[in-house]
Symmetry: C2
């Protein structure tokens, strides 16, 4: 299907938005009137720029407060509309979005609104344009697509049809199944937006918090399937008002936007049972292949890994890179091209069923490929760059030989650490939603709902991406904007069969875990009614503890080196969380 | 009255918060339990730190989900409470906040809740502490202070009383007048928070958007008056959960917080008709005395002012400062101590009825005084620093002689510019709310409700501060966080009797106003049904236009020099706005 984007989704001038939409690969745009009004390009210049860029101008929007008014107001609105139709002719746009009246409606009557739209339709015919009437979720009288459809039916005019917008329908909880009863050729336009589940007035929600499909909580694949089943053949078009996307780099946001639409079309086709999905099928990764920490000098991390029970597996045969292993946990330390860089998380390797498919899907979703220099004898690796710059490598049966490049030591070491449990990745605030879409669409991870943790310098927003079997868990964090003194910490959580034993082991090698205050244990004992001797054991070892209906969690932290620290974790029975109640205490301790 | 602040209002560690609260001048604090739990200081150490700082520990909070539960749960809750009472004894805190049950209540009965609180009261007696029971706005059963008061009455226990929180009462729209019927000695604690008028779920509103008194839309002076009339004699205490204040500098926020409380107590006393207000009475400033632009080299501004019709009034007798005048508009250009600084707005002089009173009130509200070097023969100026660093000077009959320091030229020049209409001040996002309180409390300006304007790189939040007669208007703007390339623009709007004439005058002197695109005029003509010849006159002059029910607005902009630009404005009849619909077009044009 054709793909379009409303210019309000993007930052910059109208010309910048058009260039970015075309570069990303959109077929067309909706011209948001304020972007036109602020542009120094004439409508004719915009039209010819669109031609040069290969973009169609699919919709002129919005036209407000037209119907449901008295005669004088109607005459003035017809005059306003005629001026806009003339502009549309200059632009070469054939469809205008007319929103249900919010401000000036005085008459609550389907018949009156229909008659007025019919009159507008007659005028539209003279300009060769058509009216796509949309029920805004906060329309004064018409706020439901089923009512806007009744009005369009009553108007009974070939140039008057519907515009459907997923936000206006799903935010109100209206059942979209009824869309299938609307003839497809009367759906003149389809606007798509996702949104997080928020409980606030729908106008503010719409104006500030819309998201690209796949980033919020609406079931957009099912929604689009209803519209397609109705027979709609126009473009899938994004209209996302979002405070962040208004600010971010326009070219990047355009790619991000298109990725959401490609993902959505693929999902909608699957909902409809079509046998021609757009995207290569993959299943979620099953586990961590490795984590890479990069720095000019990784020796402080080496010391830490040794204390945690990792064994030095070997040095890479051709690069200043070393491999450390403990159980199934592999950590690569990379000093290549790392001048002046403090230790930071640079790459994550994930085990997938089929490396070629994973890479193909990533490419279909425009994930930027990663190029690393390889030599003939080395295993070629497939990797893409996540929105925060972390490189994500796909590992599978065909690539496992990479560890042999580090010599031929044993591939597993036994010790307290058995595997990588999760990798906590700090995200720049402006790319957080993009990261959610990246991990869900490219990797087929599930996005959990967000939580907030109070740190000593502000709230940290967190959202976990995980595979269905929890083999891969990636909590994404956004640190407060203001705390520029400390770069956001990233961490690697290492699964142990017994954290207390692992801490004793590390202590024996000279590692002091992050000190946890006594007050924490006083509160823990009071809160959970712990046995005092158990509490004292935890306290003595600086091990934190959590318990929920599913099971128990033990964890302990190392100090932070550069931007990286390590966590030792133990999960008993079905505990699936991350000790969120402990995080504020950990952050305060790290700050000391 | 005693003044207290909950540690959750401030950023940092518990010890940092205590130091900041004491330094600002608070009498006491509420200990927010998570701050204690994360602290490395023992309760005894916190107690002695408070002693050393001269702070009382007024409240331990919160204790959650106590009442309305079954017997097993109650037993566990009593055990939890006893542990907390023991901590309170170690801290030397005698009152604990017990919130109405949100999570675990199974029994919706005043009698059951009362009986359970009575049991808790008996336990409290043994520890010498008392229970302040609070109805949370989102309590499962008890969500109204009138119901929590019924429960406390039924509990009928000397150690069980009420905690009142302005947010929980006013956010639900509950009438606070009923507070006067509660005996003052049963109100154990009073928590105060303001909030903006938002339509969202009350829990998110409370957790993220509370403000200090005077910054939101609640009538807190009337609220406090009700509580004081009831006979409450405990501290006025702030409990403000706010995403921004959690991040800002703790010492600065503590002063800001205390300012809000001093202002509130003063207002509450006035509501009660007391003849001993806390603060010196002032009336709002009546007009602009001057605006100062500072730069290493102000010559580009001098050229601009000359083109706009300003006359060079003279050079200061002892400093590298010059004065430019046009009608009643005075602009000071200051090159002193300005190395490497581009032109920016450094000071605003405001005309007040009584300079000494204005300065005294500012000092009572802890506004930082400004020290400028003066010489014996020069008029001493009274000034304070606004939160964004702008210096605000108080001018009145006694200080008007300052212009004589610039020679003895005519004090008024006639030309198209007649006065300063408004001064638009860019605010750092983290000090926006503080600025609102500063201008309303120190200067007695009125804060209008906020608006948002879509710029090409994100939304600009704006809130106007004005005097009742509009002699002083200060729109405060917060620019999007991300656009670091361009420092936020500030501007001085100059009132003219005829903007079109003023633009022609400026053109005659070689000034090209900011070009406004033709599309803007096409839209304007369509929107307002303008006469084409009028539209063409505006377009030819790059003059923008707005009209509302009150009157008309004409305006035109200069280019930006450093961070400053000028606007020429003309107001016809009662137009009181700022041409907000024109602002996005202006911002796009400035970016070109």
């Amino acid at each position: 299907m054709r793909r379009s984007v409303a210019t309000v989704c993007l930052s910059g001038s109208l010309a910048e938005k058009m260039h970015a939409a075309a570069a990303a690969g959109f077929d067309g745009i909706e011209v948001f009137e304020p972007d036109l009004v602020a542009s120094e390009l004439s409508p004719e210049e915009i039209r010819s720029l669109a031609d040069r860029l290969g973009l169609t101008l699919d919709l002129y929007q919005p036209f407000r407060d037209f119907e449901g008014v008295g005669d004088d107001e109607l005459a003035d609105n017809m005059r306003r509309a005629e001026a806009k139709f003339a502009v549309m002719n200059r632009l070469g746009i054939d469809t205008i979005l007319v929103c249900s009246n919010v401000g000036t409606a005085t008459i609550d009557s389907d018949e009156v609104s229909a008659a007025q739209l019919r009159q507008l339709g007659d005028l539209a015919v003279r300009y060769g344009v058509r009216i796509a009437f949309e029920a805004l979720a906060w329309g004064r009288h018409i706020d439901d697509y089923r009512r806007s459809w009744r009005v369009v039916q009553l108007a009974d005019h070939a140039s008057v049809g519907l515009c459907l917008d997923s936000f206006h329908i799903l935010s109100r909880g209206h059942d979209p199944a009824g869309i299938e009863d609307i003839p497809g050729d009367k759906i003149f336009f389809l606007q798509l937006a996702d949104a997080p589940a928020l409980s606030m007035d729908v106008l503010s929600w719409s104006r500030h918090h819309r998201l690209f499909p796949g980033e919020g909580s609406f079931d957009l694949p099912a929604f689009v399937a209803h519209v397609l089943r109705a027979g709609y053949t126009g473009p899938l078009s994004l209209e996302v008002f979002n405070d962040t996307f208004r600010q971010t780099d326009v070219e990047r946001t355009a790619v991000h936007a298109l990725r959401s639409l490609v993902w959505l079309e693929d999902r909608a086709r699957r909902v409809m049972g079509e046998d021609t999905p757009l995207l290569t099928d993959v299943t979620a990764p099953t586990g961590f292949d490795f984590v890479e920490v990069k720095a000019e000098n990784t020796s402080s991390i080496e010391v830490l890994l040794g204390q945690l029970g990792f064994a030095f597996r070997g040095r890479h045969r051709s690069k200043p890179v070393s491999l450390w292993v403990a159980g199934d946990a592999r950590i690569v330390l990379n000093e290549q091209h790392a001048r002046d860089l403090a230790p930071h998380l640079s790459a994550v390797g994930l085990r997938v069923a089929d490396v070629a498919s994973a890479a193909r899907r990533a490419s279909e979703l425009m994930a930027p490929p990663v190029h690393r220099r390889t030599y003939a004898s080395e295993v070629p690796l497939q990797a893409v760059e996540a929105p925060d710059g972390t490189q994500v490598f796909f590992g599978g049966p065909t690539t496992m030989a990479w560890t042999e490049e580090f010599g031929d030591g044993a591939d597993k070491m036994t010790g307290p650490v058995t595997a990588i449990d999760h990798v906590n990745m700090a995200q720049p605030w402006q790319y957080f939603d993009e990261a959610v879409l990246f991990y869900t669409s490219v990797l087929e991870l599930d996005a959990h709902s967000g939580v907030e943790v109070a740190g000593p310098r502000g709230l940290v927003r967190s959202r976990v991406m995980s595979s269905p079997d929890n083999g891969v868990r990636l909590p994404l964090n956004v640190a407060p904007a203001i705390d520029e003194s400390a770069p956001p910490a990233q961490h690697v959580a290492l699964l142990c069969s017994d954290v207390r034993e692992a801490v004793r082991h590390a202590r024996g090698r000279g590692l002091q875990m992050l000190p946890v205050p006594t007050n924490y244990y006083d509160d823990l004992e009071a809160r959970l009614g712990l046995d005092p001797s158990f509490r004292h054991e935890l306290e003595e070892l600086d091990v934190m503890y959590d318990r929920d209906g599913n099971g128990e969690y033990f964890n302990a932290y190392t100090r932070t080196v550069g931007q990286v620290f390590f966590e030792l974790v133990e999960r008993r029975t079905g505990y699936a969380g991350f000790g969120a109640t402990n995080a504020p205490v950990r952050m305060a301790a790290q700050r000391r």
